[in-house]
Each structure stands twice: as C-alpha cells, then as structure tokens.
Symmetry: C2
Subunit: 260 residues, 2 copies
Amino acid sequence: MTEIEHCRILRFTAEGDETVEDAVTVEEPLTLFLNGKELVTLLCSPSYAEQLAVGFLFTEGIIEKGEDIEGIRCYEGKGVVNVSIRGNGIPGANRGSRRITSGCGGGTSFYRDQDLKRLSKVSSQEKFDRAEITALMQEMGRKSRLFRETGGVHSSALARGGALVLFREDIGRHNAIDKIIGECILSHIPFDDACLMTSGRITSEITRKAGVAGIPVIASRSAPTSLAIRMAKELDLTIIGFVRGKRMNIYTAGWRISGG
Amino acid sequence: MTEIEHCRILRFTAEGDETVEDAVTVEEPLTLFLNGKELVTLLCSPSYAEQLAVGFLFTEGIIEKGEDIEGIRCYEGKGVVNVSIRGNGIPGANRGSRRITSGCGGGTSFYRDQDLKRLSKVSSQEKFDRAEITALMQEMGRKSRLFRETGGVHSSALARGGALVLFREDIGRHNAIDKIIGECILSHIPFDDACLMTSGRITSEITRKAGVAGIPVIASRSAPTSLAIRMAKELDLTIIGFVRGKRMNIYTAGWRISGG
C-alpha cells in the first residue's frame, strides 16, 4: 500500500531539458459496500481505507455512531471495503455524496432534506486561542510530507487541547476529513470539542461534514465559500480561513476565538 | 447571478485586529434534471448553468453530441436546469459522478465498465509548442479575477491555435472543465485539437473527462496523480504538470510537445 509512485518524466526548465524520475501521488478507486451491497466508489489515496469508509458513512448520515457498525472487512489490493451495519442505516439517508436526491429547500442553506434532520446547532462552548491556531496550522504544514514530495494531496488534522492528535493526507479534501472522523469513531477519540484543520477550501460539503460531527471549529489555510459561511452561521460553527503566518480571517462564530 | 458576496469578517494580523468587508466566492447548488427527472445536484459557482449541465451530461457519458439535446430550460434563481434529450441517453451510462456503479476492472486503469466503452485512444496528431503553453498558462493566471478577489475558485481554459478561446472559473475543478466543454458543444467550438488548461490537480476524473471529449492535451499549474498518468498513457493523451514560469513536467505522450 504505497502512497508514492515514481515515473519517468521529461522536465523542461529555463536551463535545459532532462529526463528524471519523479514522485507522483497514488490515486486509487475504493469501492464501498454496505451490508454486501455496492454503495459508492471513492477516488482516494490508498491508506486508512477502513477509516475512510466509516467516516464517509458517518458524515453522509448513513450511520449515527460507531456502535451501528457490526463489522468491517477490507479487501486490500482489490480496492474494496465492506461495512456491515445494523439494519440498513438511517432511513432516508443519503446514498452517495454527489447524488443529492432532494431539491433545494426554501429559506435555508441546506440543500438536502436529510441534512435538516441531521444537523443541529453546534453545542460546544470550547474556546480556542488564536496563537494556538497559528501554531497548529504551521505544525500541520510541517507534517505534510506527501504534499512536499508530490504536490498532489490535501492535508487534514484534528486538534484538541492545543495539540494535533490526528493527521491525514489524501488526494481529496473530503476524504482526508472522512479519514480523520472515521479514525475518531473507531478509536473513540472525541471530536465535539476539537478544531478540524484543512489545507483545502471550506465549501458547503466540508461544513456539512463538520456540522454532522458536531465539530465546533474549521480552520483552513484557504478560502471559504458563501454557502459554507451561511451554513456555519445557522449552525453556530466557527469558520476560520486564510490562516497564514500570524494572519487569519474569522467568518462566523468568532466568540470561540480568544487571545490577541 | 452574482459570483461574489461581501461579508463582514474579523481579520487578525500581526499589526492588530480589524472588522472588514471581505469578498467571498458564491457557491450554489444546481439541480440537474434530465427529461424532467432529477439526476444530480452539483455544488458550483452560479454562472453558465446551461453549459455546466451540457458539459456534465457529455463528460459523464449520458449524451454523445450536441444533437442529442432537444431543449434546455434554466430556472434562474431556483438553482434548477432541465435538459431534454432524445430517448434516455446512452444505455448503461453513468448517472452521477461519484456514484460509480461498477467495480474495478482487471488490468486497466478504468474503474467503470462504461468508461471502457466510451474511451478510446486520442486520435489528434496536433502538436503544441512549449513556449506557447507557458504563455497560455500565464494568460490564464491573468484572467483569474474571481480567484484574485476571493481565493476560492479554480480556473480552466481551452486553448486552440495558440490562443485562449474560452475561460471559466468555478468552485469545482470538474465544474470549470464541464462549463468549458458544454460551451464548446453548444457553440460548435471544436475541442479535439485543443489544449485543456486547469489551475487544479489532474486526477483520474479530469483525465477521464478530457478522454471522453477526445482532447489531446491537459496542462496544469499543479500535480497529476498516478491513476491520471496511467489512464493518459493508455489513451495516448498528453499530461503536462507544474507549468510554472518556464518550467513544466511532461508525464505522458511527450511527442505532442515541440520547441526547446
């Protein structure tokens, strides 16, 4: 299960041309079965397949907690993981992330009926120090080995009590976050008082995933979108963007951020 | 149909804190109906909805050509577009991009059965000059107004005969490319001798979309993945990555790139 492949490339530079061996990030399809029935194929980095499967099922609202899972079977090398759960999951739950089956709701930022049922205001009263956010984002950058070697992945991390407790890289922003949340569920790491860090942009899907998990803060090196901000306001979830050096922008629920 | 929203944010800098109006890129759900039946909801930038719908149907293998379309109806402000096509589209075609219904094929890079049917080697013998690729990538960067203002979008462009003929920005890499290809189909702009430019990473999904369209070259500022490279080799499609300044890496089908 290697995360890097080497391939021969032709490199053009101002100084001349050369044929070199270059490091490329590995992308592989992972087909997720639920109770033996094919659910979705995710294109992802080939690591932590079980965590990705569990995180996906949770953030897509198909399971509610780790206890819903009866067993996980990973067929390594085949790109297949089967998760057995009690019953068929939450009735009416989403089956596949981009196939969204409900129309747009009126007067709300949530574009799927089941989101309205699953999502409620984030209850955590946890506060976060801004100097801590700055330091954690720098630490995440230092850990991003696969990105430094290949330039082809996003990073995500979970921070609690001023420290990074989990760190994952994946070709997909969503996958990296699902791997974090899946690991939390499998290893009983609480996330309802944590800060979710990402190298990627904060879109509505990222905000929805954090909201389903009840995670109070999302911090990114990059930009949020309008819909992410609108959702986060409704959920009282803190969005921090452009965490670069000592700068950062607080878009929503700034009361959770202290220090100065 | 505005692409930028302004919102009040709290900005922390080393010099102090300030409350400012910040420009944020707009994200909206667009629900695509096919012959009156709901197909998929895409999260995208609110522009060129018809082009996005047509490009998506084409690159996902649901229509084969512009003549398959009988009518397009866009319900602006409701985030809905309906495309009427002859019949029900290509039999067995994919219905939604991340819900991939076939397992992994053996001995091929293509993870969906229908891709094997739709994809064949790129036939174009067109050559591209490397100095031209460098200049076009710089031009795309200069055009990326929405990115400069918000940091929240990807750019894509179509280059033919040494010039950028189309340019689009979207919160999604895939959407920006689908908007380009959809516009080509609706406006009868040939793309089988063109270079597809993108600010985003070249994953297998991007390569598959270009392959379905028969586009001979994809050039990116960013990295490709292993699966994208493997697909491109099978399709004899040229992948150029890390086009920055006068540098670039040629990963596959280098015979199309001339100059030096």
